[in-house]
Structure formats: structure tokens, C-alpha cells
Amino acid sequence: MSKKLKMTLGALVIVAAMGYLMITSFSSSAGFQVSISDLVEKGSKFQDDYLLVEGKVLPETVVWDSTNIKVEFVVTDGVNQMPVLFNDVVPDNLDHEDGAEAILRGKYDHDGGIFRADSVETRCPSKYEAAED
């Protein structure tokens, strides 16, 4: 085998290894990005899936339970509303009076009609706003 061929094969083995790494990591952490309406209307379809959802928080619905370290709130996409449970502290800006935009990751409990989030992020404030008000 020529040197060049050996080199190429070696490189391909490494590329294959990285590809394998990618594929196996995919299945362990992939989630579907869905809308609130998708969940509320067809929730059972996503029962065990890991999900990513965006929505606007209704500030008056934010309830913080300091004894059990959990916060519950309701998000909306303008059409449907969805309650959320997050077992951690309230992230900054979540109860912003204008309605914070939240990015939620977690699973949807169709029977309970509640989204159990394991990650809640609020958008970086007043940055590149597309909707000029």
C-alpha cells in the first residue's frame, strides 16, 4: 500500500470515529422544537419526547414556592396557554412586566397538561429586536 493510501485510510478512520461519536450523541440528547399550540392540541403525540418550546410568560401567573424550590408559570404563543413547572429558582427577568420571552426545555405531561421544564432561559434583553415597537 502506498504511503498516500495509508494516510488517506488513517484519516478516514478518524473521520468515521468522529462521525460515530456524533451519531450516538445525537440520539441521547435530541429534542423536538414544537410550539405551545402543538403541545396543547396534540400533546399525547410528544408524551415521552424531549422538547424545546418558546413562549411568552404571563407575568401575573408566576408563582414561586421557596419551601420546595419550584416555580410555576403560564406561557402563551398568542393562541394557546400552557402551564410550566420548573424545579429551580426563578431566572432573572422571568416575571418581567412586559412578558418575558422564555425558552423551555423538558417534557410535556399530557395527562397533567403541564410542561415539566429542566431548563428555563429568558432571552437576552433589548438586543437585536426585530419587532420595532
Binding site: K3, K4, K6, M7, G10, A11, I14, V15, M18, L21, M22, T24, S25, F26, S28, S29, A30, G31, F32, Q33, V34, Y50, L52, E54, W64, S66, T67, I69, D88, V89, V90, P91, D92, N93, D95, H96, E97, I103, R105, S119, E121, T122, R123, C124, P125, S126, K127, Y128, E129, A130, A131
Partner: protein, 659 residues
């Protein structure tokens, strides 16, 4: 008035850019030197005009002229001067103007540099730079005008969001842009080399400092972004694999690969097409980064909803991608590799591996970032991947690269002797084994990847230190110099190498911080009453209630808590919630008791009953401080390597061995 001036300056700059482009084309067609001079002058004029426009915006911000919408949205009367100035890049329009400013200044410098050897390339370099200037000036003037009027009488502005009132706000955007935009220079030279069928490495040599400095700024930008997130956001981490974060990490990865692989081209004349492709990819990734942020097509905390601007950037990105790749393919037969691979145990092959790993990691991160878009397009449902994907893929690849970093300094060009190689890495390798064992047993949580990474870090650091010490001792013995003289003589004669070693050492420290905080996280959240204690990782904190104070115009509520460890009072932490005048929501100010071993990271989350009860969140981040220390080493090492003067030049071109 000032706003009109600012806008007018931009419009004129755009016209000058278009005109300069035409003149430059004419200079190529006619070969008339005067056209070349005109174009060069034009590029200088663009820089001056955009500077004038920028100065106008700064003036408007500082004088709080709320008749300008941008000033209204991002500042207020009570904002401190420093933040009024940095509000320049707080929003889309201003940050685009910043990009245009940096670009115009870089272009003017490049166009007017007196490099005789670049004469043939310069007209085409200028063309590429002008295309970029035209695009960004178009974007600012027609799609994101920072001088747009508010259209009504306003007494005070909305104010800069508290989360952006942080030193990170001043440094992070500028350094990231200085980095991003910097890559347009080597890209322009590469395109010029392709057009003129110059298959040598003049384009690389001429832009080496630009590339390294752009890489440095991008590194600083990424590190500052991480530090800002760490100290400001209160979630205890510094990197979330958010699409926008990835967007500034991707070009960093490919640029790092590029910085290494060009060394092979410089010495052996190999990898010519690969290097061209790498710089094209790096440049396109910088455009991709700005596209992601401004279009909102990928869900990210740093980006907002979809706007027509997104398509504008996508269009430009696609145009430049097709043009540059097309050019590369068209001219690909110009390139002849000068040397071939002699051995797979050589520095060339280790650099090839380095490139494979870095580009592989970049590909994985890129794929993970755009996957929602692709899957939506292909399958109709957007599939996202979160941090676990990126950690599981990028982690092993980058840590393997860290190990490779330990072998590179001792592997010879062309062909390395296997026995010699093993001998030179033997005792660093053996010394790293007890490190692996020690971490494994001391931490005792059964996982093996963290101890392995510590071992790799030890190995790589030891190899580098060994080389430096060996060189110093040899030089001292031969010349009779003192150790310090020998050391200084050694490193200053070959700053490129030893600067590089320092950068590598800095990277090892950063890797330590990463494996420490991400490998052994400790966290607790507890709701406490006055007098209650919280215990975590050997520390005991006592909640003593809340106090209030005023600072400038902000109301601060804080919880001063003494920290005791092993019976000794270490001091106290005082996490805060800060109330800014225009904002109802307070922001969290983290309190960090940092040390070389770990950071004690405390957040005051919420309280009730006037502070009788409070919820406190505490993280222990092992080795976090080493990220910033490593960052400083990285900066010093890079500057040491590229500082002009003797000792920064490359070694001689590798001559063929006699048959």
C-alpha cells in the same frame, strides 16, 4: 443635526465605496497607477467617513439626544457615561455600524500598507475588501439605520438593560468584532492569490500577523463572553452551547486549524488547497455568525425574531461562499504540492491530525447548531440538540487534540525517529499517570473521563515545560550564561515557537478549568431563615438577613454571609439583587469567593417576609480561576510571538534531503 451628519456620512461612505470599486476595476483593466492611487485614497476616505458617523453616534449617546430612536432605546439620563458610550453596540443598528467601522479601518490600513511584494495582489485584495465594505454600509444605511428618528417628543430614554451594564459589555462585543472582521484580510489576500494564479505563499506570509491578531481578539472575545455570563447570569456556568456562542466558537476552531496548517505550507509547500479552503470557511463562518444573531432563524437567548435583515445576510453569505469556492475550484490546477508526506511520524502528519480534529469538532458543532433548520426543512419538524450533544462530541475530540498538543513540540519535521520520540515523551507520560490515579481516587465518583483529562493536561504541560527547561539548560551550558540569561536568549531568538508554547500552556490551564467545573459540579439551593446555615463542599455559610444600600442611583439589597471552612472564618460573601431606576425587575449580582482551588459562587435568589426567609443558590466551581489565568497566558504568548522585530521570523524553508 448631528444625526443627519451621521447618516449623511454613511451615505457618502457608501457612494465612495462603490466609486472606489469601479476605479479599482479600471486600475486593473488599464494598469494606470493613478487609478490605483485613487482607489487607495477612496478606502482611506471610507474609514474617515465611517469614523465621523461613529463619532456622531457617540455624541448623540453621550448628550442623550432622545430624538434619535437608538439613543432612546438603549440609554437614559441616569446611565453612567461609560455605558452611554458602550450603548453604541447595544442594539442591532449600532453593532452593524461598529462592524462597518472596524472593517473600514482595517481596509484602509491594508490598502495603504507599503508592501512592495504585494503589488500584484493589492488591486484584487482591495476589490474584495470593498465588496465587504459596500455590503455592510448598505445594510446599515438601508436596513438598520442607527440615526433613525424617534418621531415624537420624549423626556427620557428606556435605559440600558441592567444585564448589559457590566464591564463585559464594554469588552466582549468589540473584541469579538475585531476578531471576526479581521479574518476578511487573509480571505481577501487568498482570493487575490487565486485570481492572479499566485500559487506561492505570499498571501499567507503577508497576512500572518492579521490572522494571528484576529484569532487573538476572537479568543479574548470568547473568554470575556464566558466570564460575563459567569459573573452576570447567576446560573453558575460559563458556556451553554447556545447558537450564538457556537457562532463565535466555530471560526475560532477553523482559524486555529488554519494557523497551524499554514506552518506546513510555509515550510514544505504542502496543503495549499486545504489552506485556501480553511480560510474561506473561516471567513464564511464569521458571516454566518452575524447572520444567526440578526435573523433569529435559530432559537437562541441572544437572538430575536425573524426580520428581513436575515435574508440580506444569508444572501451575501451565499454569494461570497459560491464565489470563493467557485474560484478555488476553477484555479485548483494552479496548485502543485511541493513536497509529499515522507512519514506518518512527522510534524506534518501531527498537524494534519490537529486539523482533522479541529475541523471535525467545528463540523460537529456547526451541524448541531443548524440541525433544527435542516430537520425542519427536510422533515417538517425542528429537532434540536442541547448541551449534552456538544459536550459528548466536542469534548472527546478537543481533549484528544490537547493530548496531540503534547506530542507536537517533540516530533520532528519530515520524519521522526520513533525511539527518539518515545524517549522524549516518556517521563512526562509516566508522570501523568499518578495524576490520573490521584484524581480518580481523591474525587472517587467512579467516572474516568475527568481523571483522564487531568492526565492529558499534565502530560502536555510537562512536555512543553521540559522543552523550555532543556533548551535553557543547554544554552546556559554552552554559552556560560546564567539561567535567566539563557532562558531569555532562548525564547527571544525564536519567539514564534516559545510564544506558541506559552499559548499552549494557557490552553492547558483553560482545559483544567473546563474539566474542573464541568466534570465535578457541586450545587445546592436552599431556603433559609435568619440564623440558619447552608453547608456545601466543606463550606458553611450563615444567613443573617438582608441589608440595603444605595450605589450611584441603584438600590441594592444584599445578604452578607460569613463563610467558614474547617473551623476558620474565610471572609464573607454578599450576593445582591440590584434595582435599577427604569427597570422593575432587579438583576442578580453574583458573589464569588474565588481561589486557585475553586470558586464559591453564591446567588441571592429571592426572599420573603422582609428577608426573614431567603432562597440561596450556591455552586462550587473547581479550578474556575484557571480559565482566566490561562487566558492571560494565551494573550501574552500570542503577543510575544507576533510582536514585530527579530526573533519572530519563521525558520528556513525546508530543503530537500539528498537522495
Amino acid at each position: 443635526m448631528m444625526a443627519d451628519l451621521g447618516f449623511l456620512a454613511l451615505v457618502i461612505a457608501l457612494l465612495v465605496a462603490v466609486l472606489s470599486f469601479v476605479i479599482q476595476v479600471l486600475s486593473i483593466k488599464t494598469g494606470d497607477k493613478r487609478f490605483m492611487e485613487s482607489a487607495r485614497g477612496g478606502m482611506g476616505a471610507i474609514a474617515i467617513l465611517v469614523s465621523v458617523s461613529s463619532a456622531a453616534l457617540l455624541y448623540l449617546l453621550v448628550t442623550s439626544d432622545f430624538s434619535v430612536l437608538y439613543v432612546y432605546r438603549y440609554t437614559s439620563l441616569s446611565l453612567s457615561l461609560l455605558y452611554k458610550l458602550s450603548a453604541f453596540w447595544a442594539g442591532n443598528a449600532g453593532s452593524l455600524l461598529l462592524w462597518a467601522l472596524v472593517l473600514s479601518i482595517y481596509s484602509a490600513i491594508v490598502a495603504n500598507s507599503k508592501q512592495e511584494q504585494n503589488k500584484k495582489l493589492m488591486p484584487y485584495v482591495n476589490l474584495v475588501l470593498l465588496i465587504n465594505n459596500i455590503f455592510f454600509l448598505l445594510a446599515v444605511t438601508f436596513f438598520a439605520n442607527p440615526f433613525a428618528p424617534t418621531g415624537g417628543a420624549v423626556m427620557d430614554g428606556r435605559g440600558l438593560n441592567p444585564m448589559l451594564q457590566n464591564p463585559g459589555m464594554i469588552i466582549h462585543p468589540i473584541t469579538v468584532f475585531l476578531g471576526y472582521v479581521g479574518f476578511v484580510v487573509p480571505f481577501a489576500f487568498a482570493m487575490a492569490a487565486l485570481i492572479t494564479k499566485d500559487s506561492g505563499d505570499l498571501w499567507i506570509k503577508s497576512t500572518r500577523r492579521w490572522t494571528v491578531l484576529a484569532w487573538l481578539f476572537l479568543s479574548i472575545g470568547n473568554l470575556y463572553g464566558a466570564q460575563w455570563a459567569y459573573t452576570e447570569l447567576g446560573w453558575g456556568g460559563f458556556w451553554a452551547w447556545d447558537p450564538v456562542e457556537n457562532a463565535s466558537f466555530l471560526p475560532w476552531l477553523t482559524a486555529t486549524a488554519f494557523i497551524h496548517s499554514v506552518m506546513i505550507q510555509e515550510r514544505k509547500g504542502m496543503f495549499k488547497i486545504w489552506n485556501m479552503a480553511l480560510i474561506i470557511v473561516t471567513y464564511i463562518l464569521t458571516l454566518f455568525g452575524t447572520y444567526i444573531v440578526r435573523s433569529g432563524v435559530i432559537t437562541s437567548v441572544h437572538a430575536f425574531g425573524v426580520s428581513q435583515q436575515g435574508n440580506l445576510f444569508l444572501g451575501f453569505l451565499t454569494l461570497m461562499l459560491f464565489a470563493s469556492v467557485g474560484l478555488l475550484i476553477w484555479r485548483s490546477d494552479t496548485f502543485k504540492e511541493e513536497k509529499e508526506f515522507e512519514s506518518y511520524l512527522s510534524r506534518e502528519s501531527s498537524f494534519l491530525l490537529n486539523n482533522l480534529f479541529l475541523v471535525g469538532a467545528a463540523f460537529a458543532v456547526f451541524w448541531g447548531t443548524i440541525f433544527p433548520l435542516v430537520s425542519n426543512w427536510v422533515k417538517g419538524v425542528a429537532v434540536t440538540v442541547g448541551p449534552p450533544f456538544f459536550n459528548q462530541v466536542a469534548g472527546p475530540i478537543l481533549f484528544t487534540t490537547l493530548f496531540l498538543m503534547g506530542i507536537c513540540p517533540v516530533i520532528a519535521w519530515q520524519k521522526s525517529n520513533f525511539k527518539k520520540l518515545v524517549k522524549s515523551i516518556l517521563w512526562p507520560f509516566i508522570s501523568s499517570l499518578p495524576v490520573v490515579a490521584a484524581v480518580y481516587f481523591v474525587k472517587g465518583d467512579g467516572q474516568i473521563w475527568q481523571p483522564l483529562v487531568f492526565g492529558i493536561a499534565a502530560f502536555t504541560a510537562l512536555v512543553h515545560l521540559k522543552e523550555i527547561i532543556k533548551g535553557t539548560l543547554v544554552r546556559s551550558k554552552i554559552r556560560g550564561d546564567s539561567l535567566f540569561q539563557a532562558f531569555w536568549g532562548l525564547v527571544s531568538k525564536n519567539r514564534r515557537r516559545y510564544g506558541g508554547y506559552l499559548v499552549h500552556l494557557g490552553t492547558v490551564l483553560i482545559a483544567l478549568a473546563i474539566v474542573g467545573t464541568m466534570g465535578y459540579p457541586t450545587e445546592t439551593t436552599k431556603t433559609v431563615q435568619i440564623g440558619e446555615t447552608i453547608e456545601i463542599g466543606g463550606y458553611t455559610l450563615t444567613y443573617q438577613g438582608l441589608q440595603e444600600k444605595m450605589f450611584e442611583n441603584k438600590g441594592i439589597v444584599y445578604a452578607e454571609m460569613p463563610v467558614v471552612k474547617d473551623g476558620k472564618l474565610l471572609g464573607s460573601v454578599a450576593p445582591e439583587k440590584v434595582f435599577y431606576p427604569e427597570f422593575e425587575q432587579p438583576t442578580t449580582e453574583v458573589s464569588i469567593m474565588g481561589g486557585f482551588k475553586e470558586d464559591l459562587y453564591v446567588v441571592l435568589s429571592s426572599w420573603s417576609q422582609g428577608g426573614e426567609i431567603a432562597t440561596i443558590k450556591i455552586n462550587i466551581n473547581p479550578l474556575m480561576a484557571w480559565m482566566w489565568i490561562g487566558g492571560y497566558l494565551l494573550i501574552i504568548g500570542t503577543l510575544f510571538a507576533v510582536w514585530p522585530g527579530r526573533g519572530s521570523r519563521l525558520g528556513p524553508r525546508y530543503k530537500s534531503r539528498p537522495a
